[in-house]
């Protein structure tokens, strides 16, 4: 592995972390809206309780991703930045509305209903917009006009493959958040919410896997190369599929008298997505944006990269104690009982 590849692995790790925390965060917003009419539904209570300390952390990872992209692959930041003005701005606007509503509602009770609606809708819109980067990066939607790259919005909006990715992203979001919220409900000893989210996870899981299996079929229309290289990584994908089956097993067996299995399901789920992302990343390699950007040709200056690595490592090492404290105060079982 050369330096650029190390950079790519870091970026993938950040994508994975953001995908997980973002799914839980945005998904929780969505579930809180689903239970809008039933003010006291335990499921909504759990969703909201998870939300409040989480959004700041998720947000920081988004910014960290953007900054890491600029620092490690500046040319990719150049090309993507040049393309994404409209979708990027829409994401920012949704994100701002959502965060601000969250805090407004925290201060003014009257806004709580509005908050649930705003964070529910944006909880769907933001991931749907974010996921578009996947099909975009496979090439086929970009044209060069007068020396600058432009998205061909017309073909983009008319592509089945794009919707396919969006649906896979959305169902994954809801699925991941359902499993994690169910586990969180278990921690707080809330049986009603536990069962509710478990029920949702049970039907969402199979749907996501169906969409995932169908991806290679619609992919070749715009990105034949990607269709082929996915075939080459099939063992990684199969491994991820096995983890999915394992996850379903734990999910099904996590009944009220064996609630702890939900934790195992959550772990298997995270691993399943980790391997799927790894496989997808390997298939996509070496392109960051087919066919113009590769990992090598967008890589930053080596001195800069070394310094970026040093700063990352020192920063994480320094913040780790703070993180541990944060976790113990807010997300651990003990914290939960103390705050009651």
């Amino acid at each position: 592995m050369n330096m650029a590849d190390v950079g790519m692995v870091i970026l993938l790790a950040l994508i994975f972390i953001y995908a997980m925390t973002g799914s839980i965060d945005f998904g929780a917003g969505f579930w809180a809206m689903v239970y809008l009419r039933d003010e006291n539904a335990q499921a909504a209570v759990v969703a909201n309780r998870y939300l409040s300390p989480l959004w700041e952390v998720t947000n920081v990872f988004l910014v960290l991703f953007a900054v890491a992209l600029v620092g490690i692959f500046p040319k990719a930041a150049l090309v993507y930045g040049n393309l994404l003005l409209l979708p990027g701005s829409l994401i920012l606007i949704c994100l701002t509305l959502r965060t601000v509503m969250m805090v407004y509602a925290h201060v003014v009770n009257r806004f709580r209903r509005a908050l649930r609606i705003v964070s529910g809708i944006t909880g769907i819109l933001i991931p749907a917009l974010l996921v578009n980067v996947f099909p975009l990066s496979n090439g086929g939607f970009i044209t060069m006009t007068s020396g600058d790259w432009q998205i061909n919005f017309h073909t983009f909006v008319g592509s089945w493959n794009v919707y396919h990715f969006v649906l896979l992203g959305l169902f994954s979001e809801l699925f991941i958040s359902a499993v994690f919220l169910s586990d969180y409900a278990r921690l707080s000893g809330d049986q009603e919410a536990f069962l509710q989210y478990r029920k949702h996870a049970l039907w969402l899981g199979p749907i996501t896997i169906v969409f995932a299996i169908l991806i290679p079929f619609t992919l070749p229309v715009h990105a034949l190369w990607m269709g082929n290289s996915i075939q080459m990584q099939k063992w990684w994908f199969i491994f991820s599929g096995i983890l999915f089956l394992l996850m379903m097993y734990f999910l099904i067996t996590s009944t009220l008298n064996k609630m702890r299995n939900m934790r195992l399901a959550a772990i298997a789920l995270a691993l399943q997505y980790l391997f799927a992302l790894w496989a997808y990343g390997k298939a996509h390699y070496p392109y960051l944006l087919y066919p113009i950007l590769t990992v090598q040709n967008s890589f930053t200056d080596p001195t800069m990269f070394k310094n970026v690595m040093i700063v990352l490592i020192i920063g994480i090492a320094l913040l780790l104690p703070g993180f541990v404290w944060f976790w113990r105060l807010f997300l651990s079982r003990r914290a939960f009982f103390e705050s009651e």
Partner: protein, 455 residues
């Protein structure tokens, strides 16, 4: 409007909006820390109440600061991709380190706000100090990125490519120290004046309220004024330093700010007036011969460079003269006001009397004025760098995105900022209306209000 102009206005507006919340975000935790400290030392509950009320306002403002900041960070790549290309190669470090500063701030903020009743009280002090430190660090680091734009170094541009990159040399560029000092000091000064304004407003409005409340607000006013005045003095010093610095490193900016066309010794300082590009001088205004030379170089006969030294198409817009004047005027006035109000309050206190109502009325305007000075200062610094996005390296015109739909994005953001401004004011006012100060005194327990989580 062409693409670059629209992008400039949009980005300028976003930053002008963000800086309000960012400055509050830097200064408020500092004030909260002071209040907590005073509570520890004097064992006076008033300071605890102060800290808890400031914290409540801070939580809302912080969220708006974080979201607008996120917007700024990503907008940089969306509006100025070609600039970010260079940033990524040369000056990525402050942006990256800044994330950790944010993390520090966000983590300890959550701990301070949501868990303060669960941790021992020395740790409470530690966590609020960490919040203040994180906020100051993030301001310092972002200011560094901006300092680099003004005095870039640590690389060579050959055929539009940056080579021979030395990241730490770029990091410690010449304008970094003076700039961070001025930015930090003015943020503390502004927030202290704002808390002073709020206390003054409270005293001015409720003249018949009960005496514990008046005492409380008096204390808040005096603490705020002391801090504000101290930092005003530092602001003037650091501002003077900034002036000398740009005279040496960005002479166009100073020349445009002062409407100086010909290079000269004994250069005059012009206050007010109307900079005219046609007549190539400032029409009207108050001229003080030699003062500009003195401010820029420390000597009355020092040579100050004029605009004629530079090609006309690299002159900054001349209107920055107004924002420069406004900043300096506000700075000097506020310093004088702070000293005067403190002296008056000391004298009155000896006679067991309160500040007169006209004084309170004047003080109400101090906070907003100080914030206006920050805005003016930034417009001066940023517009004064034009037409360069990176001084003498890259032109703003050449850094802008070529993406379509700029107009639509522009309108959407304007709407968003409008909504945010209205929403934030309504929410904060609403909260303090429903929880007036008097309520705090009705509660006899010393414990700060327990913050519950959402429903």
């Amino acid at each position: 409007m062409d693409q670059a102009l629209m992008a400039r206005v949009l980005f300028g507006l976003t930053l002008a909006f963000h800086i309000i919340f960012a400055s509050l975000g830097v200064g408020l935790p500092f004030m909260i820390m002071i209040a907590e400290l005073l509570h520890l030392i004097k064992k006076d509950n008033d300071y605890l109440i102060m800290a808890s009320r400031w914290t409540k306002g801070f939580t809302v403002l912080l969220a708006v600061g974080i979201t607008t900041g996120t917007t700024v960070a990503l907008q940089l790549s969306l509006l100025w991709p070609k600039f970010m290309h260079l940033v990524g190669q040369v000056i990525a470090l402050p942006f990256l380190i800044e994330i950790f500063a944010f993390f520090l701030e966000a983590l300890f903020m959550s701990i301070y706000v949501y868990a303060s009743h669960r941790i021992p009280s020395p740790w409470k002090m530690v966590s609020v100090a960490m919040v203040a430190l994180g906020a100051a660090l993030s301001a310092i680091l972002i200011t560094d990125a901006n300092a680099f734009m003004n005095t870039p170094q640590g690389f060579q541009m050959i055929n539009g490519n940056a080579i021979h990159i030395r990241p730490w040399q770029a990091f410690f560029n010449p304008s970094f120290p003076i700039k961070l000092f001025h930015v930090l000091v003015t943020a503390y000064m502004t927030v202290a004046f704002i808390t002073a304004s709020i206390a003054a407003f409270g005293l001015w409005k409720n003249k018949h309220s009960h005496s514990a409340i008046i005492k409380h607000q008096q204390k808040a006013l005096v603490v705020s004024l002391i801090i504000a005045t101290m930092f005003s003095l530092l602001a003037a010093f650091s501002g003077d330093g900034s002036g000398k610095f740009i005279a040496a490193y960005q002479p166009e900016k100073l020349a445009a700010g002062e409407g100086l066309f010909k290079s000269q010794m004994y250069a005059p300082f012009v206050y007010g007036g109307w900079p005219s590009g046609l007549q190539e001088k400032i029409v009207g205004g108050l001229q003080v011969p030699g003062l500009l030379s003195f401010l820029a170089t420390g000597k009355f006969n020092g040579l100050v460079k004029g605009l004629y030294e530079y090609p006309r198409d690299t002159w900054p817009p001349l209107y920055i003269h107004f924002t420069f004047d406004a900043m300096i005027t506000i700075g000097s006035l506020l310093l004088a006001l702070g000293v005067f109000a403190l002296a008056l309050s000391y004298l009155r206190n000896r006679q067991k009397k309160h500040l007169p109502r006209w004084m309170l009325l004047v003080l109400i305007f101090a906070g907003p004025l100080s914030m206006a000075a920050i805005e003016c200062g930034w417009v001066y610094a940023e517009v004064g760098r034009q037409p360069w996005i990176v001084y003498h390296v890259m032109r703003t015109q050449n850094a802008v995105t070529s993406a379509s739909y700029m107009g639509l994005v522009f309108v959407l953001f304007i709407l968003l900022f409008f909504l945010l401004a209205v929403g934030t004011i309504v929410v904060i006012r609403g909260h303090f209306k429903r929880h007036p100060l008097a309520e705090e005194f009705a509660i006899t327990t010393t414990k700060a209000e327990k913050e519950g989580w959402q429903p």
